[in-house]
């Protein structure tokens, strides 16, 4: 068996340098500023007659005041439910009639819409017409606001019966305190109940501004078309003139643990703290280290210790999310409630050992081969590339980000990882939340 593994590794190593790099060179990203002030990021691909576009703004849940929790998400949700004189039905019909797909998203930092359309003239034109109205002229019709409020309140009430939701909310509150990243993006029952149309209109006017917009495009269109589309989607939005700041995050000063009772058969466990920002100097050691610790699926330590060796959980992982300000590092699992204490002890021990010793040379080599060797998989569809373009545009990353990624991952050493984790992932400042366990069983 050892021989077999060794042979595979040699083949992979040789291929890493030979094949991965040319694959990247075939993704030429163009970027410019539209006359509207929007930043545009574009890749032309000619082999399928389709176009994917996203238009995003700094309009995520970080821009909610705590007493207006849910405002950002509710504004985003209402964009395509009445705009430019078209009703929600008109919008749905016009998009469906040309086989297009219109969606959108929201996270801590970003909010906006995305769409996918055929590039044949009539289909493209109709999709763009609707998208331009949705972005620039949302109507926020009062009856639609009330209907959607009722649906949202129902969904929040339902979600508050689920252990995952209770866990996520308590964890965010514990690690972010009063910072807006700690406010639930869908809002609270009492804040959503009070949101007014004026607040939605005002949020759109303040946050959906042309000179903070990022338009990402990939598909079968020319540069001239891309320029015209970006202008059309953002040209009539107001300008802000100033960039927008998210307040800094202060990580918790001490460790704390919270137990929430729940009748589920499993306990849900999460522990962590805010760690990774988009411009983090430790970005690559932390990302590669997390891959080894618990982000790399079966090949990672937490999965190995909790699931493969002990059968304690179906899902056991660590995750690391990057935002403008530090996003959460989290270790999570679910296990039948009597085992919660045992599983938590295993996770703590695994983390402590990783922090003390860092990864082995072999673990690091394997992780690099996965992250670098697997890079072509991350950019083998328009949809995946669009996500990268949006991140590059929004956070102002260099257009060479994808090429750099490969190089920077390869530069990471075991010492870099040990050093970065020791400084940044401090168990003495971590919050732990357990939903559904007998409090006596977890210490």
């Amino acid at each position: 068996m050892a021989r077999r593994v060794a042979r595979v590794r040699l083949v992979a190593a040789a291929w890493l340098l030979a094949a991965a790099m040319p694959a990247l060179a075939i993704l030429p990203i163009q970027s410019w500023q539209a006359k509207s002030g929007a930043r545009v990021v574009f890749v032309q691909t000619r082999n399928l007659p389709m176009l994917d576009v996203s238009v995003e703004f700094p309009a995520g849940s970080a821009f909610n005041a705590r007493e207006k929790a849910g405002l950002a998400a509710f504004t985003q949700r209402l964009l395509q439910l009445g705009a430019g004189g078209l009703s929600d039905d008109d919008i749905a019909r016009r998009i469906a009639d040309v086989g297009a797909q219109l969606g959108g998203g929201l996270d801590n930092d970003r909010a906006g819409i995305s769409f996918r359309t055929l590039t044949s003239a009539a289909e493209l034109e109709q999709t763009l017409d609707v998208a331009a109205r949705v972005l620039q002229r949302p109507d926020f019709p009062p009856p639609v606001i009330e209907r959607e409020r009722a649906r949202l309140l129902g969904a929040i009430r339902e979600s508050l019966t689920r252990p995952e939701t209770l866990l996520g909310r308590a964890f965010s509150a514990a690690i972010y305190g009063d910072h807006p990243y700690g406010v639930p993006s869908s809002g609270e029952l009492d804040t959503v109940a009070k949101l007014t149309r004026e607040e939605l209109v005002d949020f759109h006017r303040r946050q959906y501004v042309a000179d903070r917009a990022v338009v990402s495009l990939i598909g079968d269109i020319t540069r001239d078309q891309a320029e015209a589309i970006a202008e059309r989607l953002t040209g009539t939005l107001p300008r802000a003139g100033t960039p927008l700041a998210v307040p800094p995050v202060t990580p918790p000063a001490a460790a704390r643990q919270q137990a929430i009772e729940h009748p589920a058969t499993q306990a849900h466990v999460v522990m962590g703290l805010p760690v990774l920002s988009r411009d983090d100097p430790d970005f690559f050691p932390l990302v590669v280290g997390n891959h080894i610790l618990g982000g790399g699926g079966f090949a990672s330590r937490i999965n190995e210790e909790v699931r493969q060796k002990r059968g304690l959980a179906y899902s056991a992982y660590s995750s690391l999310a990057a935002y403008r300000r530090p996003g959460p590092f989290a270790i999570g699992l679910q296990t039948q409630k009597e085992q919660a204490g045992e599983a938590l002890a295993v996770v703590r021990e695994t983390l402590a050992r990783f922090l003390a010793e860092g990864p082995t040379d072999k673990e690091l080599a394997d992780a690099k081969q996965n992250l670098v060797g697997g890079f072509p998989l991350r950019i083998d569809s328009n949809r995946k590339i669009l996500d990268f373009l949006a991140v590059i545009g929004f956070y102002g990353l260099p257009l060479t980000y994808l090429e750099d990624y490969v190089v920077r991952v390869q530069q990471v050493s075991t010492a870099d990882i040990r050093d970065a984790f020791a400084r940044r992932v401090d168990p003495a400042r971590m919050a732990t939340v357990i939903v559904g366990a007998d409090p006596a069983s977890v210490r």
Binding site: R4, A20, R46, D89, A92, Q101, R151, G154, T161, P376
Partner: protein, 461 residues
């Protein structure tokens, strides 16, 4: 992981081919068989230097027998536990170290294993996959650990999710004789009592080249794939497969109802009717009309259920309709919904049925049909953005006994469906006697009391 995708069939399984007129590069698909009966289907897609390789076994939970439900899925987990030459967990580690991702899925109809890789790594995937088709080592010790993982999966996926429980009960009620009545993950008590010999028997029965299809999609040369397939899978001898009994579901003779009480806030109503599925892509017409009916009801944001029940009448906060024409067993047409505050599950049930009755009475408009067909045409272009989606489509059809070669024809047939045909299936299949209704009766969350165990059952195993 192996993160089982409990395959909820894609709505447009049939609509997935490429439209030669719309796509710039037509897809080249090649099929051949090895001497041992294993079939290989290769779709070339040269857009990126990547490949997805899938081995599909025509053995899913519908092939299980009472007392051993869940064994198809348990074996899927055990397939990562090593062979004579690869240690436990090494399969995934080797794929990861080659820059790849791997996983597997079990459904009622089949079990599938896949690897996504840079194209030069395809031989590794095929070598490892062939190895575990023939040389799996099942030990009592690995089994004892993994069955605990599977029980945790069932707790996570089903036991603690009210919506999953009500769906499980819908299936268990709608079918009396057909094994579709059992959940893919298995009943908890069957998992508790499963032995390593059950998994071994399953492997010995079904994991043979003559019960498998290899699907490779990506930047590959079919001739090279053929040589690799012959080298790695060719030497594995075929085996006689167990007899598959038809287990035909007897005709239902009246509405069946089931209520599930579980911690939740909002009720859920699920309605299911027995309907035909696609057996002969050329002669059948009803499955195409049923696909169109599901799409007119819920195939896009402008579709009927959302428009009338959520937006206009506001008696639901969410609705759904689904129908999968591509499966080995009998078909179901499902409607679902969550009532809005101030409305009951019974009201929503009546309203959902009212929408079917309206189609039966008044038909659908040409405009609605045109809209749904526009989705079909665009959907086949969009699907080509993903080699994974293409491989899933090809494999799913083959497992249901439908050739990938019929994809284009199925698409044409879909586009030929008339409003009269949609009306006809709405009239024909949605009476009271073939209906099953499952309702979630939400219970308050009593935080102090853990869910009771059935009597005589010990926790864990």
């Amino acid at each position: 992981m192996p993160l089982k995708i409990l395959l909820r069939a894609a709505r447009y399984v049939a609509a997935a081919a490429l439209l030669a007129a719309a796509a710039a590069v037509p897809a080249q698909t090649t099929e051949f068989a090895l001497a041992n009966g294993m079939r290989v289907i290769v779709r070339e897609d040269h857009r990126a230097p990547t490949v997805v390789s899938m081995v599909w076994y025509r053995a899913g939970s519908m092939d299980e027998v009472n007392g051993s439900t869940g064994v198809a899925h348990v074996l899927e987990h055990m397939m990562f536990k090593g062979t004579k030459s690869v240690g436990p967990g090494e399969f995934s580690r080797m794929i990861a170290a080659a820059g790849g991702r791997d996983n597997a899925f079990t459904s009622r109809d089949h079990t599938g294993y896949f690897q996504q890789l840079e194209k030069s790594q395809l031989p590794l995937a095929l070598r490892l996959e062939a190895d575990r088709m023939a040389n799996l080592v099942l030990t009592e010790e690995e089994f004892a650990r993994e069955i605990k993982v599977v029980m945790e999966e069932r707790r996570w996926r089903t036991e603690d999710r009210a919506q999953s429980l009500v769906h499980e009960q819908l299936m268990a009620t709608a079918y009396t004789a057909h094994p579709y009545r059992h959940p893919v993950i298995g009943w908890m008590d069957d998992l508790r009592n499963m032995r390593f010999e059950d998994a071994k028997r399953w492997y010995d029965s079904w994991y043979a080249p003559n019960n498998a299809v290899l699907v490779v999609v990506g930047d590959v040369d079919p001739q090279a794939v053929r040589e690799l397939a012959e080298r790695y899978f060719g030497p594995i001898p075929p085996r006689a497969l167990p007899e598959r009994k038809p287990q035909v579901e007897p005709a239902q003779r009246g509405t069946k109802r089931v209520t599930v009480k579980a911690p939740a806030e909002l009720p859920v109503t699920l309605l299911a009717w027995h309907v035909p599925v696609l057996r002969d892509p050329e002669r059948d017409w009803e499955p195409y009309a049923l696909e169109m009916l599901a799409a007119v009801l819920n195939g896009n944001p402008a579709a009927r259920l959302n428009r009338t029940l959520v937006r206009e009448r506001r008696i639901a906060i969410g609705v759904g309709a689904s129908y999968d024409s591509t499966k080995r067993g009998p078909g179901l047409f499902l409607l679902s919904g969550t009532p809005a505050e101030g409305h009951t599950a019974a009201e929503l049930e009546a309203a959902l049925r009212g929408e079917i009755e309206r189609v039966a009475r008044e038909g659908v408009t040409e405009e609605e049909l045109r809209r749904v067909k526009a989705q079909v045409v665009a959907g086949q272009v969009f699907q080509r953005d993903s080699i994974m989606a293409q491989a899933m489509e090809i494999g799913g059809l083959e497992m249901a006994g439908l050739s990938w070669r019929t994809i284009d024809r199925q698409l044409e047939r879909l586009r030929e469906v008339t409003a009269a045909q949609v009306q006809e299936v709405a009239r024909r299949y949605f009476g009271d006697d073939g209906l099953t209704v499952a309702t979630l009766d939400p219970q308050p969350l009593d935080r102090r009391k853990p869910a009771a165990l059935p009597p005589g059952v010990r926790h864990g195993s």
